[in-house]
């Protein structure tokens, strides 16, 4: 991989409290040459802590986290990395939660049941935007 390619890799953080799902997404994203998984978090607190120290391109957020809704994280992420793109992965598709995420500025909202190639395509699209 060239330095240029290295530099252009999309920097991604996953925030997900379901450890197996998080690991799976981690493996999926790490396997992509153009994507770099730079952080994983299982709670809002962990995510805030890491986001403050990192430069992010894309954040993949779960909504139902143990210490609150992933939607509450969006403004913090934007403060840390101005042009970060946010993709929400939701299991429930609960209209209230989705509404909230949209209002908070989520760029994409996907069902957790979405086929993985589509998930990857979305991460790439957001990373290149």
């Amino acid at each position: 991989m060239t330095a240029e390619a290295q530099a252009r890799r999309t920097r991604v953080m996953i925030v997900e409290d379901h450890a197996d799902f998080r690991d799976l997404m981690g493996v999926l994203l790490s396997n992509q040459p153009d994507i770099k998984l730079i952080a994983q978090a299982g709670s809002l607190a962990e995510a805030r802590d890491q986001a403050a120290r990192l430069e992010l391109d894309v954040a993949v957020l779960d909504l139902g986290l143990p210490d609150g809704s992933g939607a509450d994280l969006i403004s913090d992420l934007r403060r840390a990395s101005g042009d970060v793109r946010v993709m929400v992965l939701s299991a429930s598709l609960d209209p209230e939660g989705i509404e909230k995420a949209r209002r908070a500025g989520a760029d994409e909202i996907l069902d957790k049941l979405t086929p993985l190639d589509e998930v990857l395509a979305t991460v790439r699209r957001l990373g290149n935007a």
Partner: protein, 475 residues
Amino acid sequence: MQPSDFGGASGRTRAVLRQSEERFRLLVEGVKDYAIFMLDPHGYITTWNEGARRIKGYEAEEIMGEHFSIFYTDEDVERGHPEEELRFAAAEGSYEEEGLRVRKDGSTFWASVLITALWDEEGELRGFAKVTRDITARKEAEERERLLDQERAALEKTTDILESISDAFYAVDGEWCLTYVNIKAEELWGRPREELLGKDLWEEFPEEVGSEPYRQIRRAMEEGITTEFTALSPVSGAWVAGRAYPSREGLSVYFRDVTERKRAEEALRRVREAERRRIARDLHDGPLQDFSYTAAALGMVMLQSEDTELEERLQAAVAAVRHGAQRLREVVNDLRIEDGEDRPFTEVVESVVRRNRILARDAEVSLEVGEGVPRTPLGEKGTQVSRVIQEALTNARRHSGARRISVGVRMEGGDLRAEVTDDGAGFGTDGSPGVGFASMRERAALVGGHLEIESEEGRGTSVRLRVPLPQGIPE
């Protein structure tokens, strides 16, 4: 009076006697209020007076020589009562009774009768003197008094019953004037009956006008049917449940304080809702996440086995897991109850409909909000109305196979009306409306509303809810 034969008296004495007898005869004949006449020993009439004419209706010339049994009823004659009276009078000197007698025109009257046997000096029975008085007026007065007594006793008994029951009771006449208020009603209203009796019910309790009891009580009067109500009383501040029965006079209304029961129901409802939320949370955080993960994990394996036999075999498994997760998601969403108490009512309804649009994969869900529907939070009423809509939508979505479901909310004469109609299978009269409907009814009652369900097999189902809104809610 027939002149007696006083055989041995001197001429002068006889003249004096005759004069005296003549005066007596004139006196008797002139008496108007008593029938005074004489009978021969066999009961044939031999004299008649003015009183007899007035009381019995016969002129002297038509009655003289008739048997006195003509004044008796057929039953008395049949049992030989007239003769019996004479026999008694002959044996005892006189006979006295009160009984029914018959006038010339066939009408009857109550008579007080005194029959006195008349003997001559030889001890021979010469006949009878009969004095009859019309005592109909007195008898009728006595009868009236007796009936009044009976009525008084019955009323006392009714009053006893109405005062001893634990229900509050009141009665109104056809003009809504209070005619009875029992002690329980006094207690619940906090007002003495002296202050209420004879007054217009709605003028005395203007705060009730427009409430659910008001509607039901008026309906009982107007339609002549028994109606029921349960509502928070603005008068007593307590939950009351009651019934209004149409009566001959107007209405009888029974009601009781059911605050304790309501509190228990409310507590139970809160427990149930907390339980629903807990189950929704558990299903969401556990199985739904695991299903999602499993679907993704299988998806990952599929990605890695592209164009192999394994990919094909996995296809069905992935589809099944996805399907399962979707179903589970619907259940979770149905279980999640929104708390709409502090949110604008129209917003709550819109969000319920939105949620159901996402979940209804095969049906179109439309919403129509009529003019005047409050945009402010409606508190408990808003919550219950939105939940009834939610439950009706769940039923329509899950069980009816409807293609179109329409939700409407509108105002009608101070009532908030909500309607959910589908074009699905319906359940007809034999079908079981199920637990969902019982719960909807309960919710309606909780806010003093009324729920109507119309369904016919093959013709869809319509759920209609009516909830009275307090006056003055801003739009």
